[in-house]
Amino acid sequence: MEEKLVSLPEAIRAHVSDGDCVVLGACLEAAIPFAATYEIIRQGKRGLDVAAPISDTSSDLLIGAGCVGQVTGAWVGNVSSGLGHNYRRAVEHGEPHALKIRDHSNLSFGMALLAAAYGMPYAPVRTLLGSDILTSNPEFRLAENPFSNGGEKTVLVPPLAPDVTILCVQRADVFGNCHFWGSSGVAAEAALAATSVVLLADEVVPPEVIASDPSRVLVPGYRVSAVCHVPAACHPAPMTGRWQRDSAFFDDYHKRTRERGGFLAWLDEWVLGLEDHDAYRTKLGASLEDLRIKGEALSAPANYAAH
């Protein structure tokens, strides 16, 4: 089997192109691949369609850095601290430039990915009825349920097939086989729906470790394009069993990015002025080490023996 271990800059260069639809933050508030967000900014990608149900500050960062042409999702802001200032500036004042918004709810977003992952022509849902999301996003269609007697209304959600889905996982092997645990948001659907999948593995392990538990595999290696070994790639977001959330970091971002100038200074300090995620981790220093989960609360083993 082909080894797929590459550096994060290589993976982003190879798999993210200007104008692509990129899923970043499929697991909602956890396991957001911020290291990839930062690298996309460093490489100056443009016109991306950033797709996530809730991306915490990842989408806000990309918007402020000028990488985004469209936001597809249900929520953009700063989960623990409030509004996303860059998102507001872009939508309200076109700064750094105007933005298209493809409004979804969490459920319709997930169903759009499911439709693409499962090869469905669309997903009929019983949500969004009565919501102006149907007005601001005209791609939904209202239709009657042909199986109902009384003309029951249903909303048809078109499939969403990302060009690339970027995921943080706890561990992967060099062939792209991986384990993920804890709540997974829309990660499985986003991976199966995408043309390319890039994994940011907190740990790279021998293939036997992944093969020891095939039911914990989020997406099989043959569907993965690149694996990058990037410890704490999720920082400041949390990762189950690995990293606590750096809520102070989110707060600091919120305060410092109120004005455009403050955001640009923040971006210089934490992204553009750092060569890569190693430098970022070094800059965080002891505060990152404090966030590392050191305790153990291990899963009961599952036996796969055949005899």
């Binding site: 149900p53 929520w75 309200e92 969490n106 969004l128 102006d132 999301i133 949390p238 990762m239 189950t240």
Partner: protein, 252 residues
């Protein structure tokens, strides 16, 4: 001076909306504390759901900043994806859900998306998240917000999360088969839909507040229920439960 804060009263009032054995979309901040209080008092068999893909019996032992925090994963009843969790809403298996909002109107419609024309908004709010889905399909919608004239408005400019829409059978006309706001819990009062119009009425006034004052801080001509109660202050058992849930004293 009362031995509880306004936020503590709101939490307890919210907890009282949860019935034993119910399945609740919990959300962060006040509602998660309310869920904890309900579990420790009258609703030991309530189940809490979180949009990221978590179901819990016991609330997490520590304060959460987000629902996907490690502390909310540890000891969960089920950690899965967003879809198996959120589709329980359209499947009709969720009794109630809590949401907040920037604006709510007299028919309980909630806006968390755009202030002003959505094509050129004055303020871009974060958006729906799962709120639109909870509002569409939970059997009861429970809203928690601060009681300000700019927040409780005659008509929201954008309906992110449908309440009773234009009132009356507005939900049915839109194709919604159940649900709608059951209570709006503010820092001054509790509002509930009454009558055929389903318009929000003042049904309970928090201790220390008056009908007059509440009307002044409401953006429409707020009607009162035939009987307006005073919101009972937290009982000793409720306060005790709250202190156990909020051991860090975040809401005191």
């Amino acid at each position: 001076m009362a031995d509880y804060s306004t936020q503590e009263l709101m939490i307890v009032a919210a907890a009282r909306e949860i019935r034993d054995g119910e399945v609740i979309f919990v959300g962060m901040r006040l509602p998660i504390a309310a869920f904890g209080v309900a579990r420790l008092t009258h609703a030991p068999n309530a189940v809490g759901l979180f949009e990221c893909g978590i179901a819990r019996y016991e609330p997490s032992a520590e304060t959460l900043y987000t629902m996907a925090d490690p502390a909310n994963q540890l000891g969960a009843a089920w950690a899965t994806g967003l879809l198996p969790m959120m589709t329980q809403l359209p499947a009709g298996r969720v009794d109630a859900g809590f949401i907040g909002g920037a604006e709510i109107d007299r028919f309980g419609n909630i806006n968390t998306s755009y202030i002003g024309d959505f094509k050129a908004p004055k303020v871009k709010l974060p958006g729906s998240g799962g709120a639109a889905d909870i509002a569409a399909s939970a059997k009861r919608l429970l809203a928690i917000m601060n009681h300000e004239k700019r927040r409780l408005v005659e008509r929201v400019g954008y309906i992110t999360s449908p309440g009773f829409l234009d009132g009356g059978d507005g939900r049915e006309k839109a194709g919604l088969v159940r649900g709608g706001p059951a209570a709006v819990i503010t820092d001054r009062a509790i509002l509930r839909p009454l009558g055929d119009s389903r318009e929000l009425h003042l049904t309970s006034v928090h201790p220390g507040h008056s009908v007059e004052e509440i009307r002044e801080h409401t953006g429409w001509a707020l009607k009162t229920a035939p009987r307006v109660d005073e919101t009972p202050p937290p009982s000793p058992a409720e306060l005790d439960a709250l202190h156990r849930v909020d051991h860090e004293g975040h809401w005191r």
